[in-house]
């Protein structure tokens, strides 16, 4: 269970202060697969970065499985949270080989000692995992990751983020830089890994159809708050026009607020 309680975060740029998170609260049951949508600047990335410890919230709490992790250092959260960012370069080490990258991920949150990282047994296990991706990576264990395509790197990031399974998986538009065909393949792979591990997942996407299609919960963020949530059959019954209408309502409400301010 992930609880995000009244999270706020403001960014100062010049003289103006921008509220990226405005008292955002969110309850995510263990094993849930939540898709998160929202317009540019809604606070989606800031929320995920706050959970990861990359952004320090001004107030509020983040509680994972009953433990308050708000003050945990990044590496301590990394031990229990898997993550894939939009940029394929963020989740992998370009100068190291596929096998070495997987070996680093295999020890997520465990003590790292002086035993050989890429043993034959581990290499065999990596090969089997890579074969499941269908991207032809299983024969390239010793290739440097810098020589892979963006899609292959994201698929590798996915394996690294989910094997061994973390307690929480955070995906921030991890398909955004991929061409449609590869994007579909990596998304299928993502769903398969989530199903296989049962990991609690938050997936940010700009694609409303995908947000409806995948996962069992949907949350819409706007101006740093969760303004709409749906789950189960209600979520499955959503349509893209439904969501677009909700976006428009939220935007209209903003306009009304502005007018109030101007007249006041």
């Amino acid at each position: 269970m992930l609880r995000v309680e009244r999270l706020t975060k403001s960014f100062r740029s010049g003289d103006s202060i921008f509220r990226a998170l405005d008292g955002l609260s969110l309850d995510v049951p263990t094993g849930a697969f939540v898709t998160i949508i929202g317009s540019n600047g809604a606070g989606k990335s800031t929320l995920l970065r706050a959970i990861l410890g990359l952004v320090e919230p001004d107030s509020g709490r983040i509680v994972l499985d009953g433990e308050d992790i708000t003050a945990w250092p990044v590496h301590r959260r990394g031990a229990v949270i898997g993550r894939i960012a939009q940029d394929p370069h963020e989740g992998t080490c370009a100068a190291m080989t596929i096998a070495e990258n997987l070996a680093m991920a295999a020890l997520r949150g465990r003590k790292r000692g002086l035993s050989r990282a890429v043993t034959r047994a581990r290499a065999d296990a990596f090969r089997a995992r890579l074969a499941e991706t269908g991207l032809g990576l299983e024969s390239r264990l010793d290739a440097r990751v810098g020589t892979l395509s963006g899609g292959q790197r994201q698929a590798l990031s996915l394996l690294m983020a989910t094997d061994p399974a973390p307690r929480l998986l955070l995906l921030d538009e991890h398909l955004a830089n991929l061409d449609p065909r590869i994007s579909e393949a990596v998304m299928r792979l993502t769903a398969a890994r989530i199903a296989a591990t049962g990991v609690t997942t938050l997936m940010v996407t700009h694609n409303m159809a995908e947000a409806i299609r995948w996962g069992d919960h949907l949350v819409m963020l706007h101006a740093g708050r969760a303004i709409f949530a749906a789950e189960g059959p209600a979520k499955a019954a959503l349509t893209v026009p439904d969501l677009v209408a909700r976006f428009h309502d939220a935007a209209k409400a903003d306009l009304a607020d502005d007018r109030l301010l101007l007249s006041g």
């Binding site: 990861l52 990044v74 229990v80 993550r83 370069h89 680093m104 020890l107 465990r110």
Partner: protein
């Protein structure tokens, strides 16, 4: 004809002797300069620290083996201080290196008690090794050849251990810390710790160079570290320019080859009549050449 041959032989002897002694320095700089991607100026203090600790202990009657080991540990400690200044006080890594380098100047003077310790009459690691060889019946004698042999053996061992380490679970985390710190932290690694380890190993190697050079040249001097980072970086860069960067083994081999080539060119420059004071100019030219070479090749 034979004069020319003799000259070349003398140049090569000098190259291998000084080059292998500087090999440890090259490996140390490789770790910070290439893997951690910053010029660690701690080197300018940890190199003379190695010479100072070994020198002071040798003069005090400690054996060369122990004295050299103590120098290595002192270098590791210096690297750790730089890492802690960087990670705990959140000071930029280059500045942290400069701070520790500055402090080490005074520390080194304290350790030595004066600016220069002559070591002509104290035993050396090479001498010790030759004596050991003699005892088991091998007819070695102390000289350039034995220094080269002993240093090469030590360097080969150090290079082997470094390569092995870089392929361990911990070693991978250390390498990733320099390449993609966000990623390796996201995998649960405390990078303050991996930086501590990386800088400790780097400066241990550099101090070992200082300790061996002091024993070979017969003195430890407070000024012996001046410009030493550039020497190490020149080796790393020449090696990379000529032999590329692939596997860890290649990085290590290229660095040692780079240091040897650098030493050869320096000795050659002196032979053709350049004054020792002009050497920095030669070094600058070599650095530029090794940086420009891959670019010119790529631009073609």
């Amino acid at each position: 004809m034979t004069g020319g041959m003799n000259q070349l032989a003398a140049m090569l002897t000098g190259t291998f002797e000084q080059g292998f002694l500087f090999g440890f320095l090259g490996l140390g700089v490789l770790i910070t300069f290439r893997f951690f991607r910053f010029p660690d100026l701690t080197a300018e203090g940890s190199y003379p620290l190695g010479g100072a600790v070994a020198g002071a202990l040798l003069v005090g009657g400690t054996g060369p083996g122990l004295a050299t080991a103590a120098a290595v540990l002192a270098g590791a400690a210096a690297g750790m201080v730089t890492a802690l200044v960087h990670t705990k006080l959140r000071i930029n890594n280059i500045i942290a290196g400069i701070v520790v380098m500055t402090a080490l100047y005074s520390v080194n003077l304290r350790v030595m008690g004066r600016a220069n310790i002559p070591l002509l009459t104290t035993p050396s690691l090479t001498g010790e090794a030759v004596a050991l060889a003699n005892r088991i019946g091998l007819p070695f004698r102390e000289g350039h050849a034995s220094t080269i042999a002993v240093t090469l053996a030590l360097l080969a061992l150090a290079a082997f251990l470094l390569a092995r380490f870089m392929h361990t679970d911990l070693g991978l985390a250390v390498r990733a810390t320099g390449e993609n710190e966000t990623m390796i932290r996201a995998l649960g690694v405390d990078t303050a710790r991996t930086k501590l380890i990386g800088l400790a190993i780097s400066n241990a190697f550099i101090a070992l160079s200082g300790a061996l050079v002091a024993q070979d040249h017969g003195f430890a001097d407070i000024g012996m570290g001046t410009g030493i980072l550039v020497t190490g970086a020149a080796g790393v860069m020449i090696g990379q320019a000529l032999f590329g960067d692939g596997s860890i083994a290649r990085w290590i081999g290229a660095t040692i080859a780079g240091v040897l080539i650098y030493e050869f060119l320096v000795i050659a420059a002196l032979r053709i009549g350049l004054a020792p004071t002009d050497l920095k100019l030669v070094t600058a030219a070599l650095l530029l050449a090794s940086l420009a070479l891959p670019r010119l090749r790529g631009a073609r």
